[in-house]
Subunit: 137 residues, 2 copies
């Protein structure tokens, strides 16, 4: 299969500076963070508003890409599982999926609540979270 | 920002053969599909079972990467929005996010229900959907 090349559209700025500081799930205490977008995607942000819920896709650049099986949460007393059955950051293509709420928009900077990503993590894409009754975007 | 290179971990096999045939949302009639995984990620599938809910990340290779603003659902009577506020497949890094249910597992082939992706779409990653009360994966 052909390789794919991506250029990040932005970067996460966060008080989390290493994997130890990153909570495993957003309701386990992830802090607010700011996404700094590249000027070349300025138009793609048109219409983004405070209160919007978005899915942020990140490139987990501190993850191990050669790991295929993990002990869930590092508990070696439990059987190892394939990473496709887990949320482990370690996996062949470590893409993070984060559903967050927009709390501020300042030109190319967007603040979001409870993003579990390390400072400097590249952002690959952003999508709307559509409520079940809204199907027109 | 540095470019990132990905190798797909699999490919979607689906009766959908072009964008016209692809429903916009999974509950609008997406058919069942089969993901064919690359042998090199065999171990990453360990433990995947029928009935599991998974998030499949795809590379929407038929999308337009130079589009930053769209009229939602092609309705030119409505204002254009930045693609980051939409679910449009057209966007700088067209990564699809699909939550689906596993209906069969045969070695490197995994059947899933209601996947809105065109035949031949590369698969980048697969993750568990964890119910709110399960936090141990």
């Amino acid at each position: 299969m052909t390789s794919i090349t991506l250029d990040p559209v932005g970067v996460v700025r966060s008080p989390i500076t290493d994997r130890k500081g990153a909570p495993r799930q957003p309701d386990e205490g992830a802090p607010s963070a700011t996404i700094h977008f590249d000027p070349r995607v300025r138009q793609a942000l048109d219409g983004l508003r405070v209160g919007d819920r978005i899915v942020v896709l990140t490139w987990l650049d501190r993850a191990a890409r050669d790991v295929q099986r993990v002990h869930p949460r590092g508990r070696t007393d439990r059987p190892a599982l394939g990473v496709f059955c887990t949320r482990s950051p370690d996996r062949p293509n470590p893409i993070g999926v984060h559903e967050v709420e927009v709390t501020a928009v300042r030109d190319l900077e967007v603040d979001v609540r409870a993003l579990e990503a390390i400072d400097g993590t590249p952002v690959l894409d952003v999508k709307a979270v559509l409520p079940p009754d809204v199907r027109d975007r």
